[in-house]
């Protein structure tokens, strides 16, 4: 089945009142950004609260994949367009469409789960819209007549106007007619760039890339901070994080990754503080440093991949203590997720394979056997005093010498945006 266009559906943008134009423009911009990376002739048409992507010489799966990377799109509907050559022609085109998409010999459309004939009748109704009112029949009449045309052709179809399995949409426009029924799910969320920027604390694990994705999905741009500890962590561990950042950037747009050398701070903590408090104190310094970089680079929030109780440092008590040094809001989009849910999402967005590559992470090198799970803020603060005065300079140095790596969209030979 050949589709000449896609109807791009978006939900929440529609209810944003005066901002609607801004959101739609952001969405169109992001669509263009993603389309630039694939081959084909594309034209985006915005009219009467609908966005159509007109396509030619394109690869179906590539376009769907690109559109699934655009936040704000809820549904992607492949559209068959026919010239308006009178009702007889239209009736034939609609029956052809039904046969091609739902018939016994229909080729499956990638990304779509469609009811197939052969397992009982497929119930349907036809819904006609007429933005161009010059057509000789009204909408109801057209729908009824097209329904008959379908029934004449396809014995596996059955009318059900109340709860049909499929709704065949027919849109009569100036000179041509759109036919569509099936929908491919989009990423949802809000168009990128409509909600400021946040700093993601990115590690090589499964959770933090997903956390970045979740926040970015709400229209937020991302930067990231990664802590490495050579020689305890390797160049390859860093490369892995760069790869993860690039994968998240396929959705979120370019990410500036700040790579902070954490070795001296980590060793100082290790040497001077009680071992069961290591991870907590370490994380507090990570939050402080990430916040400093965030403030200096225009981010207005921090993002972590924490979820309650996953490890000792992610109990409610531990997070209260690691949260304490921050003044920026800390967003933890995975907070109520089970590991399984996070893994599922990570597979869906394509970061899982990279996340499970086995490289030592700086959080895992010096872990105590029995870390505190209910740290007391006063005790932790007292322990941190032992790091004074050297620690302040160490933090300054770590921030000053942080390396910035631009992690952008990369697909094949294209490297930009």
């Amino acid at each position: 089945m050949e589709f000449q266009a896609f109807l791009i559906k978006y939900a929440e943008i529609g209810i944003k009142g005066k901002n609607r134009g801004v959101f739609e423009d952001a969405l169109l911009h992001q669509m263009r950004v993603h389309l630039k990376h694939i081959d084909g002739d594309f034209r985006i048409v915005k009219e009467q609260g609908r966005i159509y992507l007109q396509t030619a010489h394109y690869d179906f799966e590539e376009v769907v994949r690109a559109m699934q990377h655009v936040f704000g799109i809820t549904k992607i509907c492949p559209v068959v367009q026919v010239e308006d050559n009178g009702f007889e022609n239209l009736a034939k085109a609609v029956a052809d469409y039904v046969e091609a998409v739902y018939g016994p010999n229909a080729e499956p459309v990638p990304g779509m789960e469609l009811p197939r004939s052969g397992r009982g009748p497929i119930t349907f109704k036809v819904e006609t819209r007429r933005p161009v009112k010059t057509y000789p029949m009204n909408s109801m009449e057209i729908s009824a007549a097209l329904g008959e045309a379908i029934l004449d052709r396809a014995d596996y179809m059955k009318v059900d106007v109340h709860s049909p399995m499929v709704q065949i949409n027919v849109e009569i426009r100036q000179g041509f007619i759109n036919i569509y029924s099936a929908e491919i799910p989009g990423a949802g969320g809000m168009p990128l760039g409509t909600n400021g920027k946040a700093m993601l604390l990115l590690s090589g694990g499964i959770d933090s890339p997903v956390a970045g994705y979740m926040i970015s999905r709400r229209g937020v741009k991302l930067d990231a901070t990664y802590f490495h500890a050579p020689p305890y962590t390797s160049e390859r561990a860093k490369e892995k994080v760069v790869t993860l950042a690039k994968k998240v950037a396929e959705y979120s747009g370019p990410i500036e990754l700040h790579v902070v050398n954490f070795t001296d701070i980590q060793l100082a903590i290790y040497e001077k503080c009680p071992h069961d408090e290591l991870t907590i104190i370490m994380r507090r310094y990570m939050m402080r440093i990430a916040e400093r970089i965030a403030t200096e680079t225009g981010s207005i929030g921090l993002i972590t991949g924490e979820s309650i109780g996953q490890v000792a440092s992610q109990t409610m008590a531990s997070m209260a203590v690691t949260n304490a040094p921050c003044t920026l809001p800390v967003y933890r989009p995975l907070i109520g997720f089970d590991k399984e849910d996070i893994v599922t999402l990570s597979k869906k967005i394509g970061t899982f394979e990279t996340s499970i590559e086995p490289f030592e992470d700086c959080c895992t090198i010096f872990v105590a056997k029995h870390p505190v799970t209910k740290p007391n803020l006063h005790i932790i603060e007292a322990s941190e005093k032992k790091l004074l005065p050297e620690i302040d300079e160490m933090v300054e140095k770590a921030i000053r010498e942080a390396e910035t790596i631009w992690c952008g969209f990369s697909s094949g030979n294209h490297e930009e945006e």
């Binding site: 050579p230 020689p231 305890y232 160049e235 060793l267 290790y270 040497e271 071992h275 090198i365 872990v367």
Partner: protein, 386 residues
Amino acid sequence: MKEIYLDHSATTRVYPEVAEQMMKIMTEQYGNPSSMHGKGLEAEKCVTRASETLASLMKVEPKELIYTSGGTESDNLAIIGMAEANKRKGNHLITTEIEHPAVTNTMKYLETKGYSVTYLPVDSYGRVRAEDFEKAVREDTILASVMFVNNEIGAVEPVEELAKILHTKRPWAVFHTDAVQAFGKYRILPKRMGIDAMSVSAHKIGGPKGAGLLYVKDGVKIQPISYGGGQQKGMRSGTHNVPGIAGLALAASITCKNMEEKNEALYARKAAFIQALGSIEGVYVNGAPGKESAPHIVSASFAGIDRVEVLLHALEGEGIYVSAGSACASNHPEISRTLLAIGLAPEFLQSTLRFSMGYETTEEELMETVEALKRLLPMLRRFQKR
């Protein structure tokens, strides 16, 4: 930062002459040796010349050389190809516990195909005992594969002696050796040593990656493991890797030139390095002393270092490149079978580095490495997981 490359057993820098010659072949004599026209003939001549060079270095016939993609393919072709071709005579194979994965995993594969394999233990220097080998030879033994030099600790196997035992007890059985680490360090004359098949890799001796050869003695039964256009008498189909083959031959002749003198000098540097390493507290050198082990490999264990990658990366921070155990196995940190087989104390299994030198490695570089270790070890030992 100055670079001190002590990972020659992983791979080597290509000799400039070799790179130059390969470039010329790729851009000028780029024909396919199988083509009938002059451009093909020109390329065929490159292969012929390479074969003559290599054959004369090994004192074998050019027709006894099969070009492959490297050590792994050579080992696979030798072991699977000879086992399959000789299975009418029996299904027992002999190898050692310290072979390269290219041999071990090929043997494991053959076990799933109904062959029976004996894995011989080694002594604390990593050497197979002749008595053990002799006892392992059975009525149905058809093939033995014993490496010439071990890639992790530089142990030198008594290949000539073992081949003789095999051929005396079972004249129809064939002897293969993986000489990837030995070629260019030892003058290996397969015919004189009773070796029926031998694997060689180009990139360990200043040649390109992706090129190697398998010597198979004329008359030894072997069958191909891949099928195609029938090049190399059907033993290894696929267009000849002409630049790779030429690069292999040139690298071999450069490496083998004055080999004995170069080895003397290398042994002297190795001795100095080992002595200096020994002056650091808690450093233990593995493998046989002096000339009983290969001239270019030094394996050392470090007391008080529980994750040797950290030491490796710390050395890297000083511009010094080494391997943890063997590079091929160290991406997935499993315990080295070689180190287990020589009975290394359990606390050292994760604390062992391999330093491997090339002929151009200098004594200064080795001494700088020792100095770096002296600087780094106390710091790293202070910060261990408790």
